[in-house]
């Protein structure tokens, strides 16, 4: 598959949140403030990219030669958890400023199912390393794009005159549904 098509498809057409409905928890949870959404989005891009490359290597260099493909789920979960711990420790030691902005969000990413989805999708689709890297960047960038757009809408909603029964999550779900419809129009792009 053309790398540009793969990127565009993962970013907009098959958007991880609005098309696959994966990662809904942080999408609704960490989207009431723009600054939180940006912090979470950057941390997710970093972790998804690293975890995808590592899990791809583990799958093709250890699980496939030993015919242990059935272990990919448990192995990827453990690998993602270990990677998040390592990233947090590395940032603590080497970049206090980065830790200040991302450190809070890193433990939350361990339980973000989008990370596991990308790792599993890369091996299910039989992507090579370059395709894995492009797909993981595109999926996580799509996650951040939608999270940031949604956060800006919710910040404006907070200042709007929303009926009492619709305040909070109900209006957020309606907005998410409208966004999903809007994003479905990208389907004809590729």
């Amino acid at each position: 598959m053309n790398l540009f098509t793969l990127f565009l498809s993962a970013l907009l057409i098959n958007n991880v949140i609005l098309s696959k409905f994966i990662g809904m928890c942080p999408f609704l949870g960490v989207s009431t403030k723009l600054s939180s959404a940006i912090g979470m989005g950057v941390a997710v891009i970093f972790v998804i990219f690293g975890a995808s490359v590592l899990s791809w290597a583990l799958y093709y260099y250890a699980l496939v030669p030993l015919e242990l493909q059935y272990m990919k789920l448990i192995c990827f979960i453990l690998l993602i958890a270990a990677f998040v711990q390592f990233v947090e420790m590395f940032i603590k030691k080497n970049s206090p400023s980065l830790y200040k902005s991302l450190g809070i969000y890193l433990p939350l990413i361990t339980t973000n199912c989008a990370v596991l989805y990308v790792a599993l999708d890369n091996v299910t689709q039989k992507y090579n390393l370059i395709e894995t890297m492009v797909n993981s960047i595109a999926v996580s960038a799509g996650f951040m794009l939608v999270l940031v757009i949604f956060a800006t809408i919710r910040e404006r909603l907070a200042a709007s005159d929303v009926p009492e029964a619709w305040k909070g999550n109900p209006i957020a779900f309606v907005v998410a549904a409208i966004m999903a419809i809007a994003f479905s129009a990208f389907a004809g792009l590729v």
């Binding site: 453990l78 390592f86 947090e88 603590k92 200040k100 450190g103 809070i104 939350l108």
Partner: protein, 61 residues
């Protein structure tokens, strides 16, 4: 034989997790980040461990 490799790989990954968790806990938090706390007003995840820590700290005050 394959079962043995499966146990070894899973064991190694669990060991790696435990070791990294312990190492992460031991790593000192950078200066100026000691009282870093999440802005839980911006989050709807109510059963998060970070949120519980912040709420407990506020209750203690």
């Amino acid at each position: 034989m394959n079962i043995l490799f499966a146990i070894l790989i899973a064991g190694a990954l669990v060991g790696l997790n435990v070791w990294l968790y312990a190492a992460n806990k031991k790593t000192p938090v950078p200066e100026g980040c000691e009282n870093l706390k999440p802005d839980c007003r911006g989050c709807g995840i109510t059963d998060c461990s970070l949120r519980a820590k912040v709420e407990n700290r506020e209750e203690a005050k």
